[in-house]
Symmetry: C2
Subunit: 222 residues, 2 copies
Amino acid sequence: MTTRTAQPARRLPLTRERVLQFALELADQGGLDALSMRKLGQALGVEAMAVYYHFANKERVLDGIVDLVFGEIDLPAAGADWETAMRRRAISVRDALARHRWAIGLMESRVNPGPANLRHHDAVIGCLRAAGFDMAMAAHAYSLLDAYIYGFALTKMNLPFETTTDIAEMAESMLEPFPLGEYPNLADFITEHAMKPGYDFADEFEYGLDVILDGIERIQDR
Amino acid sequence: MTTRTAQPARRLPLTRERVLQFALELADQGGLDALSMRKLGQALGVEAMAVYYHFANKERVLDGIVDLVFGEIDLPAAGADWETAMRRRAISVRDALARHRWAIGLMESRVNPGPANLRHHDAVIGCLRAAGFDMAMAAHAYSLLDAYIYGFALTKMNLPFETTTDIAEMAESMLEPFPLGEYPNLADFITEHAMKPGYDFADEFEYGLDVILDGIERIQDR
DNA sequence: CCATTGACTATACGGTGTAAAGTCGGCAGA
DNA sequence: TCTGCCGACTTTACACCGTATAGTCAATGG
């Protein structure tokens, strides 16, 4: 009996799936900075270079976890009308980006899109086309919606506050280095609106989304 | 006569302004990767650590060049109606982000906004308020417009093609690893629309912008 | 039994931001 | 004129990063 049988499978072997799973977890917990090849190796119980046996470079790892995020997004349902389908998809993207804030700058810039990514694009275009959009109009609608969705996530991403009192502190520290009254409209906005109880910037998302969907609908109905 | 007078001012002394000017140039020419403290020092004819005498850390340098970009954006004109003022501002932001692609992820995430940044926000809010928007509606409009503007810049930023033939090559290499016909709608979209001569994704910007402005106007008119 | 090979490790290189200490010329006061 | 200070910059060092290259070693097939 060798020591090998005494400790069978003391470590799971590396697979692409296992690597991506741990990479996703690292990024989710500590942002992209926390996802270094060395830390990834350590999390897997392996040297950093072992990952390079399964992935050509770090960029391919990023490709992989971005496609995992795409896989979490609900595809537009086939049965529903385009407007509710697009609305639900938009919220699903927003939610996925909220769960994976590190992904916001990466989702749109993949040179090697994965299958979930392509399937997602295919389904959205298919939904719009099935609803009677011609190609140009489908392009307009898709471009407009995605710019808004990703842009909202981007502007919301690093908001350094969650609560109303956080906003107050933040605003004060931002305006503090400048003469009082230098930015009267901004000051008004903060005191009269952003600091009001019940205000949550995240609520703006659906408001703007509906403005866009209504605008597209009016053009399409003409 | 010393050698000192023979070579007076052989190097300009460092100032915050000069550092930021060179930092901006480095970022414009080679992206954020090209802006390291060592390269910045080298461009200034100085050791990297010299910059730290004028800036607490690299983040403060980034704060500085982001505010230079904000300074390039046209403030909404006071005289014009809100819709043309917002339209011109949006295009001005789009142009500034096109000149400084590296800035796209940074503009919205500054914890220490500079004066140009704050002045910009103040002017936009002031323009909307002067046009009769109440605070909530001004917040809706501003949030919607900026999400779209920055989102469009983000989705357009890393598009790896400029010409129609580039699109064809790109699309082929993207779909090549997958079975033919796996993504029929996407394939249709590319062949029937994106590859048509005269198509330019950048044109989508103003289309979507007008949909949004019209939508806001209709709400405001009610 | 031996050669091969798949999966991983070890080492090294050039890069990063930045803390800490050292240098040095010009200037203020005695 | 000498002295001590101090602003502006340099030197050195550390811990990290992605990754090229070479080495190790158990399992496997002939």
